[in-house]
């Protein structure tokens, strides 16, 4: 899917690729925008770690360079295209009433795939609710995400085997849970060598204001916990621009706790991969924690219930389209002759299949049985709850009897 398909209405005058006004200019908020509170910026600043420019140019970085093969680059491209396609399909499914809500990741593919692919199988991830790309990297099929948004479950995958915790909606909670988990990795003696374990926790720019995120940083620093704090600064917390949460770039928080903080171009999958891999290695070796601020942009609405036209200008999105994470890698693959049309066609076909499969799956998802709500409240069920379930089932059975008698169908 190319950038011009981003806007739901086909009427937008999207500027293609590296053409059009330079991103920096387009993105710099005007005085009026600033006054109107529309202050999100696409400027990552001097400290931004970047390995692939928006124009698809490979650049080097003194600290965070990475050796990567053409095959690996193609894999990253495939990951991003597929998760975007799954995301768009799920978004469409919501529009069609098949899902109650969807939380789009559009625009954040590079941040998530970079981080997700930096992880080793033994590492643990604690997502927020938008980490469909990380889920993908942890081997969670996109179909497994649908239950949450269709309302059939609160997460269907096994956090223990996938090493991908359940989605957490209460902002910030998962950061402390991740810190505790990482403390456990350390207590288990899994830290201190290159094959050690580490944890990555994902949260947003808005989340950084929550006390829990602070406490997680305090704990992790004090216990040398092997945890990477991966903040996707997508510039917005629903309708609130970054400036409602902080005066200074978020990566700087780390210095107040005494561990490294790095701002990475979150639309650059290579940089995200390189920085996260470095951070995870630091953690593995016992030099954690590390904070990564992935500087990116939420290209779609906060959720399908949101209407971003109420609070941000189309201009801003236009500016960010020029930094599209997938497009820049596509250009790079072509320019370096790492991939030909066959490859791109193959990926597109695969994406179509995935979308079809997701759709099919969604239409056929079974309703959970009524008694499910009483299940697994406790590991050791209480008599009180068992009695409530029995009474409820009796009550339901009464309807069936009534209907049977009335010959009706409920």
């Amino acid at each position: 899917m190319s950038p011009e398909q981003w806007t739901r209405s086909g009427t937008s005058s999207a500027t293609e690729g590296a053409a059009g006004p330079p991103a920096a200019t387009a993105a710099k908020p005007t005085r009026e925008q600033v006054i109107a509170g529309l202050r999100a910026t696409s400027e990552g600043g001097a400290d931004l770690v970047q390995l692939l420019t928006p124009e698809g140019q490979r650049v080097t970085h003194p600290d965070f360079d990475i050796d990567i093969s053409a095959a690996q680059l193609r894999d990253l491209y495939r990951d991003m295209v597929l998760v975007r396609r799954a995301d768009r399909e799920a978004n469409a499914l919501q529009r069609q009433g098949q899902l109650g809500i969807w939380v789009p990741l559009l625009g954040q593919e590079a941040a998530q795939i970079g981080a997700g692919r930096a992880m080793q199988p033994q590492d643990m991830a604690f997502p927020s609710y938008r980490e469909h790309g990380v889920a993908w990297c942890r081997g969670i099929d996109p179909t497994e995400l649908l239950g949450i948004f269709r309302g059939t479950d609160h997460g269907s995958w096994d956090p223990n085997t996938t090493r991908f915790h359940l989605y957490t909606i209460v902002i910030g909670n998962q950061c402390l849970n991740a810190a505790g988990y990482a403390m456990g990795q350390r207590f288990d003696g899994k830290v201190g060598d290159p094959d050690g374990e580490a944890t990555v926790v994902f949260f947003g720019d808005g989340a950084t204001s929550q006390g829990d995120v602070h406490e997680a940083m305090v704990w992790s620093a004090v216990y040398d916990a092997p945890v990477v704090f991966f903040c996707q600064n997508n510039q917005w917390a629903i309708s609130e621009p970054l400036e409602r949460q902080t005066r200074v770039p978020l990566y700087r928080r780390a210095s107040g706790y005494g561990f490294p903080g790095i701002r990475v171009d979150g639309n650059d999958v290579l940089a995200s991969l390189a920085v996260t891999r470095w951070a995870l290695d630091e953690c593995r070796q016992g030099n954690g924690p590390v904070l990564i601020e992935a500087f990116t942009y939420r290209m779609d609405a906060h959720t399908t219930s949101d209407d971003p036209t109420r609070y941000r200008l189309a201009d801003e999105q236009e500016a960010w389209k020029l930094k599209d994470p997938i497009e820049r890698l596509r250009v790079h693959l072509i320019r370096e002759k790492f991939a030909g049309q066959d490859f791109f066609d193959g990926i597109d076909a695969e994406a179509d299949e995935l979308a079809a499969r997701l759709r099919e799956f969604c239409f056929n998802m079974p309703e959970p049985p009524p008694a499910r709500m009483f299940s697994e409240v406790y590991a050791e069920e209480t008599a009180q709850l068992a009695a409530q379930r029995e009474e409820y089932l009796r009550y339901l059975a009464g309807f069936v009897d009534d209907e049977a008698m009335a010959g009706g169908v409920r």
Partner: protein, 338 residues
Amino acid sequence: MAAPALERPTATAGTQTVTIAKALNMGLRASLERDPKVLVMGEDVGKLGGVFRITDGLQKDFGEHRVLDTPLAESGIIGTAIGLAIRGYRPVCEIQFDGFIFPGFDQIVSQLAKLHFRSQGKVRMPVVVRVPFGGGIGAVEHHSESPESLFAHISGLKVVSCSNPVDAYWMLQQAIDCDDPVLFFEPKRRYYEKAELDPTTPPIPLFNSRVVRAGSAVTVAAYGPMVRTCLDAATAAAEDGLELEVIDLRSLSPLDLDPVFDSVRRTGRLVLVSEAPAESSVTSEIASRVQQECFYSLEAPVLRATGFDTPYPPSKLEEGYLPDLDRVLDVVDRSLAY
């Protein structure tokens, strides 16, 4: 796209048909106009007008210092509102959804509820915490909870819930006028229910309950979103010749139980209805008080139709979780069976 301009309600505006959501917006607007010390604060309440648009247009008209988009942290919202109240402001905080009030719980319990008492009356806490609550909207986790009982248990707080547009309009203004902290629970699934509102008709007191349908067979008491359910149940029952008396409790702390006692003395039967789990809740309290006050009048024990003692289930199951017309009538039948 700019937010649609709201008509400013005036005392002479006359009757209009409004939703609960609109009535709340009008109530906030009226309070902001009446008292420059009133502030509205919370996540996304400014430009967006709140995720339910209850604060729609207010920041535009009253400015960023009266209607504040706050950082994303509920302890911060409540904790700074307390400081603003100490300074003489009357903050109205919006908690985006019921399930997100808990990070602010400590400030509510330890400071908001206690400061008037701690200071022997020298510090007042005219803070309103608005909480859209309850289920039935097909939402994801943490968006459908009914935590009101937790606050009813905390001494020093007042807890109310509105069930219709007229109450929404008045009760919110009364809560803002109240010099004590008020937890204001809004029935989010009913936000778009409509009624006639005449802003010139004076309201009943904030902390009073009210008989909303007279009947003689069984008393049914509820609050917030379940009032509608109970009224529907009463309509259905009436078709079968059974007259239910329906009481809208309105205030959960303090409870105004005299109308309930009066009713139960006539009917001998009481059914309490709420979405919240029953265990150690407001409905427990009412049952406890009624069995004490009406000991000799009760012909059946006080019975309850409530959410189950489980976490709020995935939304595909909420229809079964939430008391509905059938569940209410089932419990009414059980009451009558005594």
